[in-house]
Amino acid sequence: MANLLKNRETQLAAVIVLMLVLIAFVNPDFIAPSNLLSVYTESSILIILALAQMLVVLTRCIDLSVAANVALTGMVVAMINSQYPELTLPLVIAAGVVLGTLLGMINGLMVWKLGIPAIVVTLGTMSIYRGIVFLISNGEWVNSHEMSLAFINTPRTEIFGVQGFAIISLLIIAAIYIFTEKRPLGREMYAAGNSPTAAFYTGIDVGRTQFWAFTISGMLSGLCGYLWISRYAVAYVDVALGFELQVVAACVIGGVSIMGGIGTVLGCVLGALFLGVINNALPVIGISPFWQMAISGSVIVIAVIANSRAERKVGRIILRKATLARG
């Protein structure tokens, strides 16, 4: 029980509940089940991208190109759809996912085979990918009337009152959970991020785990490229501009260590939901959107402080003996 209370995920969940209670004082409608569901639905893309980012961060890397990947794959699927409206939707989505995967592989190969720091690689590809959006679209928009109905409406289809966006994100959560907990590669990502040297001596190819983290990140970004365009029914150069920061923030708030090796699916999802609640609640309770960024920013800083305090090991060597003696 004491462990559960000290648990990061429990604490974060408690903070989210507390926040909801406070919001309810100003606007009780906010915590109506239907609204909470729509807050979750709104957060779906952030959740998926945060989980993808978590894998990358676990391996001591960072993927700043996710939002640009979303914009590029989004533009490509939108253009395919508007040019060839008769093409079946699964094929269009598959094109986005394959393209996103390739973009992620490019990042991963540069990190793995050339040994370039991830932050440098993805800072570069972030600009390159977004530049390509401009090149292929000539800076023009693809508007909703150019898209097919299936393209726009499919993710909105409700099953038992739950929108496709939410269902997809739940499936991804399950998939990533199984991957991190049950797949050798997932375990190796934790090991590689936790101690690259020890992982190397254990026979794990650290660069390879990083490559696959980037690949998965790209794949999910490709999926989100379609979801994003479908959600907002418009594709243009500045889609998801700066969204990578929200994604990284969700990870950090969720307790994913930026130093690698530490992070859970649940924490990461809660981190994304936390930002989702803030983003959706502030306008509802009458706080200017200009405050949103400041509040999100403060929360990130507080989360980082909380994380570093939690990870700090005061008197580790001495106290460890004490607990061992007791145990």
């Binding site: 797949r183 001596y201 026979g203 794990i204 090796g261």
Partner: protein, 500 residues
Amino acid sequence: MHQPTPLLELRGISKTFPGVKALDNVQLSLYPGRVTALIGENGAGKSTLVKTMTGIYQADAGDILFDGCRVHLSSPEDARALGVTAIHQETVLFDELSVTENIFAGHYLKKPKTGALDWKRMHERAREILLDIEAPIDPKTRLKQLSIGQRHMVAIARALSFDARVVILDEPTAALSHHEIEELYEIVERLKAQGCAIMFISHKFDEIFRIADYFTVFRDGQYIGQGGIEEVSEEELVRMMVGRTVDQVFPKSEVDVGAVVLSVKNLSHPTEFDNISFDLRRGEILGFYGLVGAGRTELMQALFGVSKQITGEVRLKGKLLKVSSPAEAISEGIVYVPEERQAQGTILELPIFQNIGLPQLSTINSSGILSTKAEYEVADRYATRLRVKAPTWHEKVENLSGGNQQKVVIAKWLATKPEVIILDEPTKGIDIGSKAAVHEFMSELVQEGLAVIMVSSELPEVMGMSDRIVVMHEGLSVAELNRADFSAEAIVSAATGGGH
């Protein structure tokens, strides 16, 4: 030789770490204008003493006298204020900063009124000091542009910038070329002329006899003896270093040595080791002894696929091996327990059972889906066998003591059912109880037909546990001794470059 009063004197110093008595009632005197060599094997307590003298550690008992007055060194600043300064084997310097910044880091010269950093004065002073030790280095150069020898000169200049009165040189020549060593000797002469008291730590007898005036010998954290260097011979020093009053008992078992498992021929590396050949048989413990930096670890890492660009031949059960990564070595049946447990051995954040399963996740979980049950069973079998002390195997490795962490590393490799297990300093820094457990376990392993290579810098351990010993010196294999011919003197003499 007349004996002046000591500038720095240590009396009855003791220092205990959990499970280890690093220094036991030791004494040491350093005289102004004289060089005292501190001699002892690895683990004799030299480094602990240096840290005590420079205020990094505080002694549990004993007195430190400076100029005849009792002093208390509660921090490195205290030691610096007295002018006690140490130059370490691997001096910590800042690559990206200038020479001046390196020399004055932490004690910058400031302008008296504004408190602003006085770079002009620091550059001038740095130039003066460097000229003083005849190291014509531009103080504005960035450190990373300098050679190792020049960096060493910068480290010495840094020590001198504190108005040093006691200078501790901790194996200063290990990384220096012949020419640079000569320069170092001249600096030592100059420091002597200035009246500094110098402590010189070295494993090389030719150096000791060349520049020391006095010697002090430690063994196993105890003071053994001291005297003038002219009154002692190399043989006597070696005997003082290795001679043991109480012989430790090692659980060495009689095992019938079988066929050759690993055969290494003319293995060479461009910079680390050259022309190494040896055979390893089933049921045998082959010890590798040598000084730190003799190339033993590099050799083992080459066998494990860490080092590239090696030439020569490695055969495992007659089959020619070409391993280029640890993963390949592991799949061939060669495993390596590295020296740096914390950095290289285990993933501290992961629980014990996951650490043990890590090298063979796909083998244990043949379906491709990790099964906690399967992993736990494997871990249980081996962790129990190694008597890892932990409440459950779900405990994170970081919560274990050093000895138990080491057992987890060995358990991890045993679980892969290897042919050859290489143990690099297997008992370094672990408590006596765990040490004995690791030794016992090594005996069990060879009884089961494994072949063991043990790299160790502890003479009693290497003599107590090995069936044969290969002695390495400066990247070469200089002696190979069978158990019947073991003699501490012969081994140490070969390792220090004597006897040939």
